[in-house]
Symmetry: C2
Subunit: 325 residues, 2 copies
């Protein structure tokens, strides 16, 4: 079967690779594959940490995709010889003050109601686990199953894997559906720009910092308004704003300030790190924060992954592969 995939981010590439593996003739259409939200994402794989009230269906998808991650990256690394930076590091959610602690207790109760694996950790233990945390930390939640991947390494590996599996690339921006037996629309927040494809997807701006050096933490560190993702190679990602600003990709002084302040409050040595990059991504958001993965005639839609695109890539590829038959 001839399949055109519109969009070469983590989602589109994962789909293209999966389809090519089973023998479909796949072409990815993207002016600059991997340059959108995938290039900016921090790569937290955090279904439990980030669970929200009223989003249990999304939680189920996130958990299932997280479960698939080790075999997904193992296949990818075997196919390409490239690391994806997948790291089963766990995540520590921390409270800076008593208000945070109350919020954390509420989150933990909700997580446990859902049968999720979280462990309350006293302040002293938090700092034994992560000596880089501020001495004023009040307590935390250990989410042992929330990990990380390096989205830029993941994209590079997916591009290699796609090429190795015979996927073709057309480096152009798509505004009309390409000719194919099936077209997969995986163009993130731009998916609605394609003529004839109506989608309730809007861009939600996220500003992230990339720092470099020793922050003194090994797990993902999550505060109530910031996360810190430390990688073994010395990159430390701090994110992220959530802004309804349309397609604006301006780096703003206020966002950089707020992210740095929040990160330094949790991990003081962040102040000593090199600030390497500030980047802006546009998450494809939907009204219910769940992705849209569905078949419409000869079109399969796979977008709206909002804050979970990297996490949901393996599951989305499986679901789309079932829809493209």
């Amino acid at each position: 079967m001839k399949v055109a995939v519109v969009g070469g981010g983590v989602i589109g590439l994962s789909i293209a690779w999966r389809l090519a593996q089973r023998g479909d003739a796949v072409t990815v259409h993207d002016a600059a594959p991997g340059s959108g939200a995938s290039h900016v994402a921090a790569g937290m794989l955090a279904p439990v940490t980030e669970v929200q009230f009223g989003e249990e269906l999304l939680l189920a998808m996130n958990l299932e995709s997280a479960r698939q991650y080790p075999s997904f990256v193992a296949q990818l690394e075997a196919a390409t010889g490239r690391s994806t930076g997948y790291l089963p590091c766990g995540t520590l959610v921390v409270a800076r003050d008593n208000d945070d602690l109350v919020a954390l207790d509420r989150l933990a109760a909700f997580q446990r109601d859902l049968g999720l694996d979280v462990t309350k950790v006293r302040a002293g233990i938090c700092r034994e686990m992560e000596p880089g945390l501020t001495p004023s930390v009040r307590g935390g939640l250990l989410v042992a199953g929330d990990h990380q991947v390096d989205p830029r390494a993941l994209v590079a590996a997916l591009l290699d894997a796609c090429r190795g599996a015979g996927v073709g690339f057309v480096h152009e921006r798509v505004t009309e559906l390409p000719a194919a037996d099936v077209v997969v629309v995986a163009a993130g927040c731009w998916s609605g720009d394609i003529a004839g494809v109506e989608l309730p997807v809007r861009p939600v701006k996220g500003q992230l910092l990339r720092l470099r050096g020793k922050a003194g933490v090994e797990r993902n560190i999550r505060g109530l308004d910031v996360y810190i993702v430390p990688r073994p190679d010395g990159e430390v990602v701090v994110g992220a704003t959530v802004e309804d600003k349309g397609y604006d990709t301006t780096v703003t002084a206020g966002a950089v300030h707020d992210l740095l302040r929040a990160a330094v409050e949790l991990v003081p040595d962040v102040a000593e790190l090199e600030l390497v990059e500030v980047s802006v991504g546009l998450r494809p958001a939907t009204p219910d924060n769940r992705p849209i993965i569905e078949r419409r005639g000869d079109v399969v839609v796979a977008t709206g992954h909002y804050r979970n695109g990297v996490l949901l890539a393996p599951l989305t590829a499986s679901l789309v592969a079932d829809l493209v038959r």
Copy 2:
């Protein structure tokens, strides 16, 4: 006379232009003219605002150079048709709290003892003058004679003027004195790297931010730990750290955070501005914070301008022209 100028920053270029104008055969040696501290400097021309106890001789030099600035840039703009961004905007030093106010009173008394022109301004008047200031401003000092220039525009104009006056350029890093009747060493913090030139000059790191947008202020705004230089073209420079870190030019998270916090405290709308650039300059500092401008045989030294290189360019060019005869 054949003169080699080592260093193509604001100081070296001003000297080269002056010497070429009077008929010397001048060559500037610099791997990348204008790429050092001149490229990073904010361009505050603030002899009065920045006066320090015990630095009256430096004050005299700064005042004299500030006095020469209008004719210096007028000649330069006439010679090149380029703007230098010189703007007689004045500077408002502001206090955020009572501690600041006490410090400001002390500064004003010192400035008046020196016969300098400063005016105390009540909080309400500060905000009438500069509506972008925080509502919590406690008062200020208006320094009507402290202005600004755009150092990057200034360098571009000086490069044009030098070329127009017949100055030659050798794009290489100098480690030995070039052959010439007189060699002018104006290589900033690298001046001591030239064989046979002993100078007590060390680099002092400064990190600065370049923002863009409407901050709501028109004068230079000076707090006790930050300055904000708004330009008519929408650039807003926020500076600067003062760090003894050798030749390190790393942008650090902590410095960016501290500069943004201090700037937003004074002018809240800074948070809304685009963060365009973070840059690091190495100021050439001396033990007494005064520049070294002196003749040593066939060598004339003109370096150590520390935080006043842009301001002191006109005076330095005149002084060096007198030394090169």
